[in-house]
């Protein structure tokens, strides 16, 4: 199998792919980016917190790309056990009949390309749970 690299460093690959957040040890606020301090309490220490892989669609849109012929994509905010996650909804038709508010979804991963060294980049999205 080719080497793999996640699209973003908070995506953990392997047998059970999942997201990992930087959690403030003082107030519990969770972030996916590199932190200087906590935006909620200004705390300076963080621990890693695994994010549950199933969730519920709290908001979505369906973007028509400017590139002619490119497929619409479905940015969404997914509530994963109380932590908001940003992703696209995938593996379903990109329309308002197939994607709905409150829809139950689960994390899935997929390759988005291979570089000259043969390394495959892996992205994540959320697909309908049912």
């Amino acid at each position: 199998m080719a080497d793999q690299i996640p699209l973003v460093d908070y995506l953990v690959l392997g047998d059970s792919p999942h997201l990992v957040a930087n959690e403030c040890t003082n107030c519990g606020a969770r972030y996916f980016d590199r932190r200087n301090a906590c935006a909620s309490c200004s705390g300076l220490t963080f621990t890693k917190a695994d994010i549950v892989t199933d969730g519920e669609v709290r908001a979505f849109t369906i973007v028509t790309p400017w590139v002619p012929g490119a497929a619409p994509y479905v940015p969404a905010v997914v509530d994963c056990g109380g932590t908001s996650v940003r992703a696209n909804i995938v593996n379903t038709e990109p329309d308002a009949e197939h994607v709905t508010l409150g829809m139950k979804v689960r994390l899935t991963t997929f390759p988005i390309g291979t570089d000259t060294a043969g390394t495959e980049a892996i992205n994540y999205g959320f697909e309908p749970a049912n």
Binding site: Y10, L101, I112
Partner: protein, 401 residues
Amino acid sequence: MANDDIWILGINMTKFGKHPNEDVVDLASEATLAALADAGVTMADMGILAAGNLMGAAAGIGQQLQKQVGQTGIPVFNVANACATGATAIRTVIMAIKAGECDMGLAVGVEKLSGAGMLGAGMGPAASDEWTPSGRLGAVSGLEGKLGTDMMPGVFAQVGMEYGHKYGGTSFELFARISAKNHSNSTLNPLAAIQKDMTFEQIMAEPMIAYPNTRAMCSANSDGAAAAVLVSGEKLRTLSKEQQRRAVKVSASVLTSDPYEEGCQILPNVNTLTRNAARQAYELAGIGPEDLDLVELHDCFATAELVHYDNLMLCPEGGAVDFFESGAPFRTGSTPVNVSGGLESKGHPIAATGIANIWEICHHLRGEAGPRQIEGAKVGLAHVIGLGSACGVHILEKSGL
């Protein structure tokens, strides 16, 4: 008029739309000279200039403007605060007057945007032969379209959808009907970039940009400028009766940023900072939402207008859909919203917007709004929000003279 009251002495907005033959300095100069003439004063009377041009924030629009209309040596504050840049310029001048640094000042916002396309795309790192993590997320590629969207239409679409998820009652058609209200209002505003009445069916049939916002439900990228002359109550008393009569009282001027809440770094939360600004403004002015004769709020997208009915407390919490369905925000309703046509048709030259919405309110309070005049308007509210985020709320009152 109390000594420490702040008043708008003169204000102007240019025609919004395409200005191919004028640069940002031309547009800023046009609005400035007209605002000074409206105020009956000159650059020599100004003690401070705050100016914004978001797309050229490094160029120093304030000093460029002075080079054309009057280099009087006064302090210049070039401000940039996303779509709240114009309101920030006004807020800056007000703070200087309140601090006693001067008794009169000028705020200017200008933008050239026509043909700019969608704003806010995060293009991410440049393509490389090998995946190389970079940035705060360690991303090996640009994320737009791969992990959600940073484009404004998609961000604000989700803002409206999130409201629908929380309270119910929203639909594609509802957002289109909100947009139709504003497009209808624009037919009475000769300074609007687009003056075209559209039915909600026509709006729904427009090209989809980011569901549920079609093209007609997105603010129109346009060129334009707006400028305001502000004065202390103490100074205003020394001016003519006519200047005092046309002056508009700034009963509240508030600027907020977004406080931390869960999820606010995933999808910008445009609600809490607006609610906070509104609450502070109502308290400062001693005025409640029920007292407002008209509201200009930041309908950068039709989805945004809905949530701000609630955020500005024009309706009970969760009641924005009912508020719209009741007819309240229509011209003929109890709280007319965006009688200018709103950003969806008037246009949204970013840094000008936060002054132009105040101009619209002043126009009505002075009884000078012509065919679109809200009869007997005595108090109005202007709201603007810039993603990032910054929110400006101004409550304005007609002169008692």
